[in-house]
């Protein structure tokens, strides 16, 4: 399909994927539900503020991991699964650190960051070698 546009204007190209990504909406909804649930439990006095924050981060990590897994199973969106999995891992590490006490357990974040960098690097290196 040829690019459209009037003379003097930048040409516009049609979107490769016309349909909106329904998976994004579903998981964004789940993330917002997690936030609401955690805030509600804190407001009702069932959880302390830090516990509620930890719960939200745990739920967010689960949502992100699930999102990554589902995207990995669909070739269309496979490229998005790695960033989501990494975000989920960092969220889980942050949740654990908040739950256990951030002043003592903040190195968990560094560990998560290191594990993600290592996994991402090894994965990409292997993919590059396989492609060659």
């Amino acid at each position: 399909m040829a690019p459209s546009g009037q003379a003097g204007e930048l040409p516009t190209f049609p979107r490769v994927v016309e349909k909106a990504d329904p998976i994004s909406y579903f998981f964004l909804g789940l993330a917002i539900v997690s936030l609401g649930l955690s805030a509600l439990m804190a407001q009702l006095g069932l959880l302390k503020p830090l516990e509620a924050l930890s719960l939200f981060l745990w739920l967010l990590a689960l949502v992100l991991w699930l999102d990554a897994l589902i995207r990995y199973l669909r070739p269309w969106t496979r490229h998005k699964s790695m960033p989501l999995a990494i975000s989920g891992s960092i969220s889980a590490a942050l949740a654990a650190a908040v739950f256990l006490g951030l002043t003592a357990w903040w190195p968990l974040l560094i560990l998560a960051l290191g594990a993600c960098s290592l996994a991402y690097g090894l994965f990409k290196l292997r993919a590059a070698r396989t492609a060659r």
Binding site: G101, P107, L111, L113, G114, C116, A119, Y120, R132
Partner: protein, 308 residues
């Protein structure tokens, strides 16, 4: 043979390994470069990162974000190795130890001088009216990171020098004899709650930590000076003085803000990042207290009250 494209990925993997080693070292309490100051550790990290980038540049390899991540990971590793953040593992701190200088042991002492240098952690200073005590230092450190405490008595003056890496330190200073304190921290905060009736001088400085001062003097036995400065942290002064005390507070900040709440004090001059206040009846006071507060980025808040 490794293709140039793969160098970025190799750097990413190296960063990951370094982050994991740094995280494990902090969690397990292993600090092989303990003794290096924070600035020295960061300097070494910058040096190593710079050399790696230089080599990659000479080889004509484009690595972009991976190189930055490697530099960050090296900085994290060096800072953790130096033990500067060792205090942030509370569960592993050694039970509190105490160093006490009693009046009975130093009966000839008529003046106290304390010098304290801390890398990270926190410093709390309290005054005590207990006449059997000159100085008590209560501290929490990791095993093997005990502070060095030295002292000498010259001409009736007890001088105590305390130096520590990562520490939670609480000082109880005798408020009934003339005393002076000089304390500096790199990362740690400083909090002081003092009766400054017998104070000669108080000098507090912190690079990144905040300073909170709560000072009270119904009267002064001599003129006193207070200097408090911090680069990034905030500075709070809560000051209460009696009518015989002439007090002047000078506050200055480069980029922070200055807040004030005054009673029995008047503003002599103020401007952007600057404030000078004096107590009422300043000129007719018996003794004078001169306080100077400064920050670079942090805010300054002054609550000053002159009680009749």
């Amino acid at each position: 043979m490794m293709i140039k494209k793969d160098v970025g990925l190799v750097l990413l993997i190296a960063s990951g390994v370094i982050f994991i080693i740094a995280g494990l070292m902090q969690l397990l309490g292993v600090f092989p470069l303990y003794g290096l100051s924070l600035i020295e550790a960061l300097g070494l990290a910058f040096l190593a990162s710079g050399i790696i980038l230089l080599i990659l540049g000479l080889l004509g390899v484009k690595v972009g974000g991976s190189a930055v991540l490697l530099a960050i990971s090296l900085c994290v590793l060096m800072v953790i190795s130096s033990g500067a953040l060792a205090i942030f593992t509370p569960g592993r701190l050694e039970a509190g130890s105490v160093a006490i200088f009693r009046t009975a042991e130093f009966s000839s002492v008529s003046e106290l001088s304390i010098s304290c240098e801390i890398s990270s952690g926190s410093l709390e200073v309290y005054s005590t009216p207990n006449r059997s005590l000159l100085l008590e230092a209560e501290y929490y450190v990791r095993p093997g990171m005990e502070p060095t405490i030295e002292h000498e008595v010259v001409g009736g003056r007890l001088s105590v020098f305390l130096k520590a890496g990562a520490i939670l330190l609480r000082l109880f200073v005798a408020s009934w004899l003339p005393w002076s304190l000089t304390a500096s921290t790199s990362l740690g905060s400083i909090e002081a709650e003092l009766n400054i009736t017998s104070l000669r001088s108080l000098k507090l400085s912190s690079a990144l930590g905040s300073i909170t001062l709560s000072l009270m003097a119904q009267e002064l036995l001599q003129n006193s000076t207070i200097t408090a400065s911090t680069s990034l942290g905030s500075l709070d002064l809560n000051l209460t003085i009696g009518p015989s005390v002439g007090c002047q507070v000078r506050a200055s900040t480069s980029l922070g803000s200055i807040g004030r709440e005054l009673e029995g004090f008047e503003v002599v001059s103020s401007g952007w990042g600057y404030l000078l206040i004096r107590s009422e009846g300043y000129a007719s006071a018996e003794h004078f207290l001169d306080a100077s507060l400064s920050t670079s980025l942090g805010s300054i808040d002054v609550w000053a009250e002159r009680r009749a």
